[in-house]
């Protein structure tokens, strides 16, 4: 793993840039623990001040320090994206592996469920949930709902890989070596699926964060937990752009774009590097 990361750092410029961007965003989010103000209290600082040496990112019309607000917001947003990615990866992995390896009616049943989730339009469903649940919708619940919709496409991807692995001779060797289905899936096939898992994790986070921001801007989430989308929502409520309080919108936007680009670059570079074909390529073909 150490060697792997070192190689990535040395040979992939995208990875270096991505890592720097994600690191900045992560440090910013971790600073939230040191905030002098609780995230949800208002009028703790003088309102509408532009960025200065005291208030680096300025202050909002609600009397909050933008720097600490961005810090809380990006932490919550990343946490949200991470939760969605984790839960949906587990679902995708379970369905993809079982469906691809077992085939037959199990595959058909799982894939019909899978395809249903692919075609259901997500945004109206989320809005519907909001109108039904109103204030009871917490960020965790939203994350779980989104995870339920974020696995289907990747499960198909994993399934197709496992299906081709199932027909390779080494799977038969494993079977005739007395390995159980669980062993074959986790020990023989999983290494081929991991690269997909890696790259889709990043892509999934970008997708879920984007969607969360969209919903929050429209006011369809729990606006009292500060997230990037929530900040922009409040800024719009106070017509920040018209009032010239540009820093209220600019800094959260910059933070989330950095997170997007960083995650995207990591996904691309890890994907290219971890591909078993390129790993095996180093064995040479001399014939």
């Amino acid at each position: 793993m150490v060697v792997f990361l070192r190689d990535l750092l040395r040979y992939r410029a995208e990875f270096r840039i991505g890592l720097v961007l994600v690191a900045i965003v992560l440090v910013l989010s971790m600073l939230a623990s040191f905030s002098p103000y609780p995230p949800d209290s208002v009028y703790v600082v003088p309102p509408d001040l532009p960025p200065s040496s005291t208030y680096w990112f300025g202050t909002t019309s609600r009397g909050q320090d933008v720097f600490w607000q961005v810090s809380f917001a990006i932490r919550n947003t990343l946490l949200f994206g991470g939760t969605v990615a984790l839960v949906s990866r587990l679902l995708a992995l379970a369905v993809g592996l079982i469906s691809g390896y077992k085939g037959g009616w199990i595959d058909r049943a799982l894939m019909s469920v899978n395809d249903t989730f692919i075609v259901i339009p997500l945004l109206p469903i989320l809005v519907l949930f909001y109108f039904v649940m109103r204030d009871r919708i917490s960020w965790l619940m939203l994350a779980l709902i989104m995870a339920c919709f974020g696995w289907a496409y990747d499960a198909r991807l994993i399934r197709s890989v496992v299906m081709s692995l199932r027909h390779r001779e080494f799977t038969q060797t494993s079977l005739f070596s007395g390995m159980s289905t669980w062993q074959i899936l986790t020990e023989e096939h999983l290494p081929y699926v991991v690269p997909i898992l890696f790259s889709t994790t990043m892509n999934n986070m970008v997708w879920s964060i984007g969607l969360e921001v969209t919903l929050a801007v429209l006011g369809f989430t729990d606006i009292n937990t500060p997230t990037i989308g929530g900040m922009i929502y409040w800024a719009n409520q106070h017509t920040a752009m018209v009032a010239g309080i540009w820093w209220w919108i600019a800094f959260p936007t910059i933070a989330v774009i950095m997170a997007f680009i960083g995650l995207f670059l990591l996904a691309v570079s890890v994907n290219a590097h971890i591909d078993p074909r390129s790993r095996l390529w180093s064995t040479g073909e001399a014939s």
Binding site: E169, F170, L175, F176, S177, E187, E188, P191, T283
Partner: protein
């Protein structure tokens, strides 16, 4: 105690290709029967070209494919009745496969000894006493390798010949009575091929293992097998003692196959190959694709 190790009774396998409208039935194996005696180990060669159904037959014997009709009995147990992991393990304890491509037989991302150790752990039966590593080493010695040469190696670090030996050693660790080898030497370099082929003979003579050798190569089949079975388009066209059949073929297809073997010698330099081939295949007849 059963007299027959393997009893294949009139098995057929039909594949259906295409969807609803353009359904096409392909008879891969058509009412094939064969028997192997329990007490007398032998090497049976199943010979055929691509599309002859030889691989499908081998896969049915390995219980990797279920026959459309007919029955396969191993030591008196119908393969169709095997279910549950205990039943499957008992089956694999008696029958083991060797595959065509040694580089594909092991996961390229894993070390090869993993499969040897796993097989030993799962099937450790009669030998007892010795540790897993000792048993694996002993099995590798039977194929002319040792654990020291193999351990820690990934498949790409071994040659095709070595890998095929490891594959055979792995099969031996299950202490099978029957090995089904599908084209086991067709991807092995010529200079290593004969030592693998000779190894099959040793397994038969010294370990009493019966071997079903599936191949398209008449010369190696003649060299190692006791009995051969020639398949064409799913059916057996001729079978019997290997020497009798190949020296004096009765069926025209067997004759045609034997005549098509290119001998590794230059009989007559001026002889033009074209003339001798005229008329063997009528022009324009599309050979059926499998």
């Amino acid at each position: 105690m059963n007299d027959l190790l393997l009893d294949v009774r009139e098995v057929s396998k039909t594949f259906v290709r295409g969807r609803l409208l353009s359904r096409e039935k392909i008879v891969a194996v058509n009412k094939v029967s064969l028997q192997l005696a329990a007490r007398r180990p032998e090497i049976l060669a199943i010979i055929g070209e691509s599309g002859s159904g030889k691989t499908t037959l081998a896969r049915m014997i390995l219980n990797m494919e279920t026959p459309t009709s007919g029955r396969l009995l191993l030591d008196g147990t119908d393969l169709a009745t095997i279910n549950g992991s205990a039943g499957r393990l008992a089956f694999m304890h008696r029958v083991q496969p060797i595959f065509q491509n040694p580089f594909e037989s092991f996961n390229p991302l894993k070390r090869v000894e993993r499969y040897l150790l796993m097989t030993r752990l799962r099937f450790a039966g009669t030998a007892g006493g010795s540790t897993t590593a000792e048993a694996v080493d002993a099995a590798l010695h039977k194929v002319g390798l040792s654990l020291r040469e193999v351990s820690g190696r990934h498949p790409h670090e071994l040659s095709g010949g070595q890998l095929q030996r490891v594959a055979i050693a792995r099969a031996l660790l299950a202490e099978p009575k029957l090995i089904v080898a599908d084209e086991p030497v067709s991807m092995i370099d010529a200079s290593l091929r004969m030592s693998i082929v000779n190894l099959f003979r040793t397994l038969r003579d010294e370990l009493g293992i019966s071997i079903i050798y599936v191949t398209h190569d008449l010369a190696t089949a003649y060299y190692i097998s006791d009995r051969i079975m020639i398949m064409q388009k799913g059916s057996v066209v001729e079978s019997g003692d290997a020497r009798d059949v190949l020296k004096a073929p009765r069926h025209p297809y067997t004759y045609q196959l034997r005549e098509a073997v290119l001998l590794p010698e230059v009989a007559n330099v001026s002889a033009n190959a074209t003339s001798s081939m005229n008329g063997l295949i009528s022009p324009g007849t599309p050979e059926r694709r499998a």
